[in-house]
Subunit: 192 residues, 2 copies
Amino acid sequence: MALRHAVLAALLDGEMSGYQLAKTFDVAVSNYWHALPQQLYGELAKLEGEGLITGREVIQQGRPNKRVFTLSEAGRGKLAEFISAGSKPSFIRDDLLVKVRAAEAGSMIDLVEQLEERAEQARGKIALFEKLLRQLRGDLDEQTYLEESPRVGPYLTGLRGRAFEEDTLRWCSHAAEVLRARHASEGARPES
Amino acid sequence: MALRHAVLAALLDGEMSGYQLAKTFDVAVSNYWHALPQQLYGELAKLEGEGLITGREVIQQGRPNKRVFTLSEAGRGKLAEFISAGSKPSFIRDDLLVKVRAAEAGSMIDLVEQLEERAEQARGKIALFEKLLRQLRGDLDEQTYLEESPRVGPYLTGLRGRAFEEDTLRWCSHAAEVLRARHASEGARPES
DNA sequence: TTCGACATGTAAACCGTTACATGATTGT
DNA sequence: ACAATCATGTAACGGTTTACATGTCGAA
């Protein structure tokens, strides 16, 4: 179970409600973890039950009340434990890569379209990561920030996210180009 | 359910046993999908039941017999369908990135060690991908291969895999360096 | 005879996704 | 009135992981 660790890590930034966490998981965290709101509400309830986080009701005006959660000392302890324990190898699951692998068996046109769509999404994500990094950095240049800021973790993962999306963009564009060229030359060749 | 698609895609390369598939999923496919042997045996049984693949007993000498599976026409049809259907956004899950994000809460030494270990693994994977790509290419240069080979899919996913691991290597090295430097300068600074 | 690679599974526990459900408030 | 955003959940289903289980063969 590692969603719990991702949640605990996110709470290092300060108290958050389930709703806010869901937002965070959609942008900054989406790069290395993903979770639906329902899962987060469930996990938060469990974590509170185990004393790793503490909840607090916040009465709001102009919108519904909410419950915000804070890391407890026990929660910090669990995080430290997790960091020192061995890591499982990461894994990706990507429909689009399965499709490209099986390109010979399906419609090239549809596949190219999906690659271009993904490339477009990657452009959007790159912009988001760039914004995130700028916000974290503030007035400092990157080197100084990496040397001195207490929030070096989120910055480093942001760098990874940006690099990953840049790679995705490059690859999708290239793959789309290759497949398009093959599709164009298909009629011009003798049958295999 | 998308494991089934990954299995069908893998069978485009020809008939394979569950055991061979498990191996494939550990190397070439691991880049975009991951599955344990038990899952593969289960999925193969299901796919055979649905007529998407056909099994055949192979009597071997010098080792245990095995059952190899071949894509059926119905299976090819399912793949074509899958390729044209919309893709879900890909996702990564990576313990190590969660740990880096939470770096402030745990042992920097342990974390740096894990980053370096991961970097080492990435080097290994890059070598594997390079070997895979060379094997696929044979005597052709990359451009010609991409224009003409019928097995362009595996090559393109191989390129993605290599790029991803190169990125992983770069990032792990960089992150380890940043965290090591901070750790070294920790005693020299006043407490925060 | 013990180890490693080959070869295939079952069962239970756990995790994640989809669908469903509710309700307040602000702005159009 | 209606849509969008804020806010929180439950239930059923399906998929994944962990632990267990079995057995052949070749080489050291």
